[in-house]
């Protein structure tokens, strides 16, 4: 067995170890872990396992490819032999088959790469024009009374948005501007929908939305004219196109970008019905406290006025007048009383004077009144000797006889 010893000087491989070594060699090359390969599909096989097997060919070579079921179920593209595609994945070796192959994770129609380049070019151009500037973004109204929706009338996106709006703010009015959102006619449809919506309905905000799809499906939202129509929209636009990871030029142009249609409807209703009710209750409270304060102020000022009023009231003047009247009447009465006393005194004086003039008063001074046959004797010629006479003095009368000349 000397020959064997000779061979022992070289490394000993089994098929397996060699193949594994080659595999590790390939896998250690970082540039082979992330490759885009362009070619034409042939030998396409889709067994029940769900994995996809095909060969990628061009005029000079061929490359075995496999796409595992996980990635295959996410594939939106319908594969067929002869289709020109871009395939992304990593290069490795299938040890059992002894074949190096491309483990594919993404397959795009050939030209989509070019589409992406076009996307980047247009984005840069519009960006340079300032169309995506943050300063251009208009504020989204907190409480939109009317929401415009530009989307397909049959898509799940519309249903999601309507459900969200119904749940959050059913007081809102929704105006749908239906349009196709996919295909050649989509850009013109979207532009026309935006324009009519603004012209006819003047919504407070517009939701521009579409459910998920391939980059080609979403391509209408990368159309330059669509971008300009969004910029020119009178109402602010919220975009909700595709999934969270999809960015379109419409998203950059929109005043607000939502990751999904549902999120767009949520962003359009920053205030929901519960918050509105709370704010109504608060307004009610503000009203009540305002009016209570006002009433209090008025009450105080009324009390003050009342005080002032009392000083100038007719009542008070009346009291004054009444007082004056009392005064006058008192004085009048006094005057009356005084007048009477005066009259009485005057009368008494008169009476006294009258009494003084009475002959009886003279009699008190010792005088007598002599009458003959009831006639007052005032002359000696009226009497003769022996004539009977009546003499009246102060306290009575007596008879007397004339005796002779005095």
């Amino acid at each position: 067995m000397e020959q064997l010893a000779l061979f022992n000087a070289f490394p000993r491989w089994t098929v397996t170890t060699l193949t594994r070594h080659l595999r590790q060699l390939l896998e250690s090359d970082a540039s082979l872990k992330d490759v885009w390969v362009e070619g034409e599909i042939s030998n396409l096989a889709r067994p029940a396992s769900g994995h996809i097997y095909f060969t990628l060919k061009d005029s000079g070579a061929s490359l075995r490819c496999v796409m595992w079921r996980n990635e295959a179920t996410r594939l939106r593209l319908t594969l067929q032999d002869g289709l020109a595609v871009d395939v992304h994945g990593s290069i490795s070796i299938y040890e059992a088959g002894g074949q190096y192959q491309l483990y594919a994770d993404t397959i795009r129609p050939l030209g989509e790469g070019a589409l992406y380049q076009e996307f980047l070019r247009l984005k840069a151009a519009l960006e340079a024009e300032g169309l995506f500037d943050a300063t251009r973004k208009r504020p989204i109204p907190q409480f939109p009374r009317r929401i415009g929706i530009v989307t397909s009338p049959t898509g799940a996106a519309l249903r999601d948005m309507l459900n969200t709006l119904r749940r959050r703010l059913p007081i809102t009015e929704v105006i749908l501007a239906p349009t196709s959102v996919q295909g050649d006619e989509a850009p013109a449809g979207i532009i026309s929908a935006l324009q009519s919506l603004n012209r006819i309905s003047a919504p407070d905000v517009i939701l521009l939305a579409r459910g998920g799809g391939s980059i080609e499906d979403l391509w209408a939202f990368n159309d330059e004219k669509v971008v300009r129509a969004i910029i020119e929209s009178a109402a602010p636009v919220i975009s909700g196109v595709g999934h969270e990871t999809d960015f379109t030029l419409a998203d950059f142009a929109a005043d607000l970008r939502a990751p999904t249609p549902t999120a767009a409807a949520e962003l359009a209703t920053q205030v929901d019905v519960l918050e509105l009710k709370a704010s109504l209750a608060e307004i009610g409270g503000v009203l009540s406290s305002k009016i209570a304060a006002l009433v209090q102020v008025q009450r105080e000022s009324a009390a003050w006025l009342d005080n002032r009023l009392k000083f100038t009231s007719p009542e008070r003047r009346l009291q004054t007048e009444r007082q004056r009247l009392d005064e006058m009447s008192r004085r009048w009465y006094a005057a009356q009383v005084h007048g009477l006393q005066f009259a009485q005194e005057k009368f008494k004086g008169l009476e006294n004077r009258l009494l003084a003039l009475s002959p009886l008063a003279v009699l008190r001074r010792g005088y007598a009144v002599i009458t003959k046959n009831k006639k007052v004797v005032t002359s000696t010629s009226q009497i003769q000797i022996d004539d009977p006479l009546t003499v009246r003095i102060q306290d009575g009368e007596f008879n007397a006889r004339v005796m002779g000349n005095g």
Partner: protein
């Protein structure tokens, strides 16, 4: 500055009622009305608040569809 709204409250849309409510509150906040006017504003505000709350309670999303230049009701397909 006091605007005289005479439209019956129950004829107002939520939008109108809410806008007027905001006007009433800010008018009252200036506090420059005579008392009777302020009380009238307050009563109006209370009515508007109630009306808004009622409208919210019974609100149903109103959906219309643009068809050419006109609006028509939109029927949702489940």
């Amino acid at each position: 500055m006091a605007k005289t709204e005479t439209k019956p409250i129950d004829k107002l849309t939520f939008e109108q009622a809410y806008a007027e409510l905001e006007a009433v509150v800010s008018a009252l906040e200036t506090g420059e009305q005579p008392l009777d006017e302020a009380l009238a504003l307050f009563e109006r505000g209370k009515g508007l608040t109630k009306h808004c709350a009622e409208l919210l309670d019974k609100a149903e999303l109103k959906i219309q569809k643009l068809s050419g230049e006109t609006l028509e009701p939109f029927e949702e397909k489940e």
